[in-house]
Amino acid sequence: MNRYQLDARNLLCPMPVIRTQDRMAALQSGDILEVRCTDPGAMQDIPTWCRISGHEVLDSRIEDGDVVVTIRAGGPTGSK
């Protein structure tokens, strides 16, 4: 299990979700990604994307004004 970070600050919806999606596609099941965003909509959108994509949100919080979402990768996100 590896931990990674993704800086999605100064991006507006839906780009934080797209960056998260693209980064998660490269992770192994069980890996953890911490995403940091400035778009408040990410607090809702990233967890929604995780739910429909089979990933687990370990934590979501506001930290220094940023939205920080911590995700544990589930199965592969591709469709093959």
Binding site: N10, L12, C13, P14, M15, V17, I18, Q21, D39, P40, G41, M43, Q44, D45, T48, W49, R51, I52, S53, T77, G78, S79, K80
Partner: protein
């Protein structure tokens, strides 16, 4: 045992694509959604910028739709590729700068490529015959199928009974009898169907999901192209067209004036790229100056900045003018009276 057939659905976040996908799920089809981010999506940035409607939860409607349906959604950024569609649409524009027919062909074409790469069987959209004057005419629907390369693997479940049977219908993957024959601009059948499924909080943006269908936005984009002398844009250009009040007093410069705190914050992210100004003696907007203003233009812009702040009725307002490198100076100006602002300045 035959394998479950798989359909890729274009999911805009609106009602029609929600219903089209639901009809396929009802027939036991495996459905996954695609949502394309062009930069012009009404869905996206706008809710993040403006502070309005705090009572409504901020959400991405395409993600909401996918969760309601219980399907995966793949979000795909197409900003660079999409420029060719906007700048030079083969089939021209609609009522505004909306290249709807080219856009639909482009998106279905991307879906076709995704379908082939991911071993899916066909594509579905929420198109309704006759609902939109440009891209959903009877003669336009075959154009989309042909130019996208999807041909008869493109199924429109909401109006399929009004069209020739597609491959999924002919092969029996989908029961044509359970598809619909919706036609025209009347939304009541879709609303009734949504109610029957228990969908209540779906989005119904008035002009669809694209800023290019909006007359005011298109006017701003036309102005951008006209004053630059070419039809190109970068993502920041089209983002800024969504934000604030835009005024062009002269061809060589325009003002982008924040209308509330959320917009001021957003425009603040561009301070290192534009001359900008704000009142220091009163509360007021952050204003970006785009172009090459003369000293007289900066003076006029300062008076306009004062006009749109809380000092609008004061004799004098102090405006701080800052260049992109951080150098600043103070101007003391009288706010420009509203009757001295020609309506033609507003974009």
């Amino acid at each position: 045992m035959t394998r479950a057939r798989k359909a890729v659905a274009l999911i805009s976040g609106g009602l029609d694509s929600l219903l089209a996908a639901r009809l396929m799920l009802d027939q036991g089809i495996h459905v996954e959604g695609l949502n394309f981010y062009t930069g012009f999506c009404v869905e996206g940035h706008t809710h993040a910028i403006r502070e309005r409607r705090r009572d409504k939860p901020r959400r991405n409607n395409a993600l909401w739709v996918a969760e309601q349906l219980g399907i995966r959604l793949h979000l795909i950024e197409v900003v660079e590729e999409y420029k060719a569609i906007v700048i030079n649409p083969k089939h021209g524009y609609g009522a505004n700068l909306n290249p709807c027919l080219d856009c639909k062909g482009f998106m279905v074409g991307k879906a076709r490529a995704w379908m082939e790469a991911n071993d899916f069987d066909f594509i579905i959209t929420g198109e309704v015959l006759g609902q939109r004057p440009n891209s959903q005419r009877r003669d336009a629907l075959p154009v989309v199928a042909r130019e996208s390369g999807a041909f008869d693997r493109l199924l429109r479940p909401l109006c399929a009974k009004l069209l020739a049977p597609t491959l999924p219908e002919r092969e029996g993957w989908v029961d044509r009898d359970k598809l619909l024959a919706l036609n025209g601009r009347n939304r009541k059948p879709q609303i009734a169907l949504a109610e029957s499924y228990g969908f209540h909080e779906y989005a119904q943006p008035a002009g669809g999901c694209c800023f290019l269908t909006d007359a005011n936005y298109s006017n701003r984009l036309s102005d951008l192209w006209a004053t630059r002398g070419n039809k190109h844009y970068e993502i920041d250009d089209i983002m800024l067209l969504k934000v604030g009040r835009h005024m062009r007093p002269a061809p060589n410069f325009k003002l982008i004036i924040g209308r509330e705190e959320g917009e001021n914050n957003y425009l603040g992210g561009y301070r290192r790229r534009f001359v900008h100004m704000t009142a220091t003696s009163h509360n007021g907007p952050l204003v970006l100056i785009e172009g090459e203003p003369t000293d007289a233009d900066v003076q006029l812009a300062a008076r306009l900045t004062a006009r749109f702040g809380q000092g609008r009725h004061a004799d004098k307002v102090t405006i701080e003018v800052t260049d992109p490198h951080g150098g600043s100076r103070l101007l003391e100006v009288s706010p420009l009276p509203s009757n001295e602002i020609p309506s033609s300045w507003y974009l």
